[in-house]
Amino acid sequence: MPFPTDCKYTKEHEWIKADGNNASVGITNHAQESLGDIVFVDLPKPGIEITSGKTFGSVESVKAVSDLYAPVSGMVTEVNGELATAPEKINKDAHSAWMIKITLKDPTQLNSLLSAADYEKFVAEEGGK
């Protein structure tokens, strides 16, 4: 499955979709596939500052806990509350199941992230190891 081209990606398998100074963040379809059945998400509250490259929450499948890494710095403005009771939505459609919305601290940080094509290549290389 191709990754949406209107998003940027991290090597930790988050996607970020920016619109001006605002962006939504989630995990990729590849991430949900490797995690398996997602049963729990732990997300920050609105108003919390997140920092590029630092963890901002976690996602748990039946067998494991994985940290979520902030693709860029910013402030959380909204949290997808639906995921608290229905985390399986991430398995069903990872690219529409956004986790948090943020206002960007520095939109130029987006330039250092992977494009859909680069991310796809990265995933393919990682899988080939």
């Binding site: 398996g36 059945d37 729990f40 748990e60 499948s61 039946v62 067998k63 806990v65």
Partner: protein
């Protein structure tokens, strides 16, 4: 097969089969239908000879003299300290012939231990681990599936008994009504060459189609055994945990002739047991995981989680943990430290899951 593989004690093992729907679907198939597991990593030690019973009695805590031919029992090999070398299932296959089924991670250690501590007995000890592939067929419909593939009358085999029969054309195959899932089911022992085990595996899948059989990985095996409170070596039992602490006293027969570990257990019992294994259910949002700290209501560090996971069938977040005995009473409010936060949990009855009685 499309399995997601992981390294487990040096074995490449299937952790889940995404094509089967993943861990939750695999787990629930075993609770309500049937699933099959490739558990060829398990080890097998055969003791045979005129003094095989005496040897088994010496190295294991349950009373093997109570076994009829064809019967099996849960037991453990103990260190002189009363702690665990491993837990085992002892099968009595014949007059003076016993088969010990042991864990993957402890195979070499177990075999050396059994060999070293049975030298004084007139019996041969053989490591058959590489000779057999063990396949587990588990769930309320396990008997329906396996019966299609064997001439042995499975209805005559009770839980924790074994029989022999032709399975998938393989004569004299050992069939045990045992498992590690908390369900009815069977474990069969077939020759370990790849062609044979692959053929048997696909024949079971084929025969099980009408019953909705699902291939299951280590992930589901772990959640199933946790719901049923079946111990896992290195978690609930280890070389630093004794039989009483682990709550396995009912499988330890102090009245049988002397065995390794008995003296220490006698002493430990007289001194009083200071910690015990309890079942926890998370009452606040959060999942306890292996190794997480257990806190008392005031936030003091009092114990640790040995196994923790979401329970796919019960749809709760459960854990097994060691806590001081004064905090082990049912209903006790505790906390589990999850990423720096004390998340509420309660001591609940175990096993978390018990298979329904047959009507």
């Amino acid at each position: 097969m499309g399995a997601k593989m992981v390294e487990f004690n040096g074995w490449k093992m299937p952790v889940e089969y995404p094509s089967a729907g993943g861990i939750v679907a695999e787990h629930n198939a075993v609770r309500t239908g049937v699933g099959i597991f490739d558990v060829s990593h398990m080890g097998d030690i055969r003791l045979a000879g005129p003094e095989a019973l005496a040897a088994v009695q010496h190295i294991s805590m349950n009373d093997a003299s109570r076994l009829a031919i064809g019967q099996a029992q849960y037991s453990a090999l103990l260190y002189p300290e009363g702690t665990f070398v491993d837990d085992v299932v002892v099968h009595r296959l014949g007059e003076g012939e016993y088969l010990l089924v042991i864990n993957a991670g402890t195979r070499e250690k177990d075999f050396s231990w059994v060999t070293d501590h049975t030298r004084q007995f007139n019996c041969a000890v053989e490591n058959l681990s590489d000779d057999f592939t063990q396949i587990a067929i588990q769930g309320p419909k396990a008997a329906n599936v396996l019966q299609k593939l064997t001439d042995a009358d499975l209805s005559a085999v009770k839980f924790y008994w074994v029989t022999r029969g032709t399975v998938c054309g393989l004569k004299n195959t050992l069939i045990a009504r045992t498992g590690y899932t908390g369900e009815d089911g069977f474990e069969i022992y077939v020759p370990s060459d790849e062609a044979t085990s692959a053929r048997v595996w696909s024949e079971i899948l084929e025969a099980g189609k009408e019953f909705g059989v699902v291939p299951c990985g280590l992930g589901a095996r772990n959640t199933l055994r946790l719901e049923a409170k079946l111990p896992l070596y290195g978690h609930e039992i280890s070389d630093t945990i004794n039989v009483w602490e682990a709550g396995l006293g009912r499988f330890c027969k102090m009245e049988k002739p002397d065995f390794i570990g008995r003296a220490s257990l006698e002493k430990a019992r007289a001194q009083g047991i200071r910690r015990g294994l309890v079942g926890l259910e998370m009452t606040d949002r959060g999942i306890a995981r292996d190794g997480y700290k257990v806190l008392d209501a005031d936030g003091r560090d009092v114990g640790y989680v040995t196994s923790g996971s979401p329970a796919p069938f019960l749809k709760k977040n459960i854990a097994l943990a060691y806590v001081p005995t004064e905090l082990a009473a049912l209903g006790t409010e505790l906390k589990v430290e999850i990423r720096g936060q004390g998340v509420k949990a309660q001591v609940v009855p175990t096993p978390f899951y018990k298979k329904p009685k047959k009507t």
